[in-house]
Subunit: 337 residues, 2 copies
Amino acid sequence: MTLAEVARRAGVSAATVSRVLSGSPAVKPSMRERVLTVVRQVNYLPNVHAQALAGGRSRTLGMIVSNIENPFFLGVFMALEEHATQQEYEVLVEHTGYRRERLVASIRSMLKRRVEGLAVIVSEMDRGLIEELAAQDVPVVFYDVGRPARNITSIRVRYDRGTQRTAEYLYSLGHRRFGFVGHHAGLGPLEERKRTFTEVMERFGKGVRFATASGMDSPAGGRHAAGDLLSGTLRPTAILCANDHMAVGVLRELHDRGLRVPDDVSVAGFDNIGLAEHLCPSLTTVRIPQRMIGQLAFEALMFGDAAKPRDIVIEPELIVRESSGPAPGTNRRRRID
Amino acid sequence: MTLAEVARRAGVSAATVSRVLSGSPAVKPSMRERVLTVVRQVNYLPNVHAQALAGGRSRTLGMIVSNIENPFFLGVFMALEEHATQQEYEVLVEHTGYRRERLVASIRSMLKRRVEGLAVIVSEMDRGLIEELAAQDVPVVFYDVGRPARNITSIRVRYDRGTQRTAEYLYSLGHRRFGFVGHHAGLGPLEERKRTFTEVMERFGKGVRFATASGMDSPAGGRHAAGDLLSGTLRPTAILCANDHMAVGVLRELHDRGLRVPDDVSVAGFDNIGLAEHLCPSLTTVRIPQRMIGQLAFEALMFGDAAKPRDIVIEPELIVRESSGPAPGTNRRRRID
DNA sequence: GCGCTGGCTGAAAGCGCTTTCAGGATCATC
DNA sequence: GATGATCCTGAAAGCGCTTTCAGCCAGCGC
């Protein structure tokens, strides 16, 4: 069923049908009724491709994330989508699995679909790609692309602060041997989290020892990384994870090895995914406001001024739950509760 | 940048550019090179809307799920998408939150986008909607829509068998007081799971008592439902959950109440989401092969014959893990393991 | 040398819509 | 009753592509 056919059946012109459907006020109520009756009767659904082509706007936003199985990304997506829906926009998601070639493919795909805005929430973005994308005349917002580039709008989280607070909190509980469970190596922002960890550790000075390990962004990846960490000579009493998604596996690996959390080992995650508070033990973590990021991304895309890009910075917040406690052998009074 | 502009710069006709881009063999290599050079040079990306309109095919599949936050649905989506990508198809997802009006809106949206196939993996589908959708001339595949309709292709899981096996397994471990944690009421297939549970229980006869509770499809929902169950007069020693996603919260609620799993209470989920084996304790559950469902859905959409719809039936399989064990007070030998 | 076939290419129609533009009604105003 | 002004409507152009169709040019057999 096409618009022309609807027009024919209603005995009006295509232009009128189009106007009725787009809610134009310049059409007499009687006409409107006549058209709508036919539309309902034949269950007409306009072809979005024709609409996009003729109208020059797709009413679509795009979002690219690294790992859609990680609830953090899903949280951002849901928030973005919710706002978009209210404005009668749809949002397309693609996920890259942290692979650059898939990111490139996703970007191309979004551009071919003529999205009116693109949120790039990935860790595998590099300078070159950023420049290239920014050169397109589509509003783009980036998340977590390391230090801010001059002419793009980006949302950044102060991972350094989050890591630092977590580390200091654990230090204050008496921990001196730390482990870090990070992502597969090589990706900018993820490497940065590890670097931050290292810096914080080194700032603690001689009394502190630490080690790092990494795996895929999944519970299984966290489990393996934790295994590596625990098989080493350093026996960490506190493990920081690059994200909650991996922390799930870390908890599991500790459990498998008969180590109690938090009595023997404290664990802290990052992101505060919904699951974090439902785990046993519930997860101490750093809150990254997913809904807020989704909303900010949406607003940047829809109402942002490409001419003056924004650099949005988000401060993370430590949330202490059950998975962290005093270092073993320490005075067992809980410092925070 | 448009195809016409590329054609102009390459000194060829639009038809030739189109042929080159679609990989038509009917174009001389020298021409092809000339065109491709320009395409790369100007970084030309065809407009999918124009392609879809002119070509009459969108190279897009649609998938509607009830709850994208539930990893089960995500698993099916990932599999479907993987197969689609291999055939140069894209897949659009929408999620409904189990709300009928959102389902209707999603279907309309997919139809407007002229998807070439639609997988409807939701629980809130009713007879009327099924008929209506089946009447469209788009390949459609349904999942979990209760008893098979005559003229649609659907993928069904024998929930009854899964529930029965789980119940029998727990019964054999000495459990006599059962609880069921289900979804929010009213939705066909979900009600059915509860009904199945009830039937199985009644078949056990007088010695067995049981109760049911329900909540949202989320860990929090499971937690609340478990709370209801445990606050009742029946003190179940075994809890069956409608899905793993909710079971996570059930485990947590038990933990909160100082009940050990499986020593005091056994818990069984449904779906076998990836998380299930990484939880502490790992979750006894019924395996529903998400990847297979995604693949079957894909094949049904792409290669299925609308004229002869298929009724695909999947047998679930019980996976015993740590969350289940002998009823308290029973001989402590583990029956399985 | 002529007619034919086959391989390439371009002109043009059209996919289903939006939007401008012009014109016919309708109405108030003088 | 003429004159605009206002309101509605339809014709038509065009969005960026695909695809048919016709035509051109080689190369071939006779």
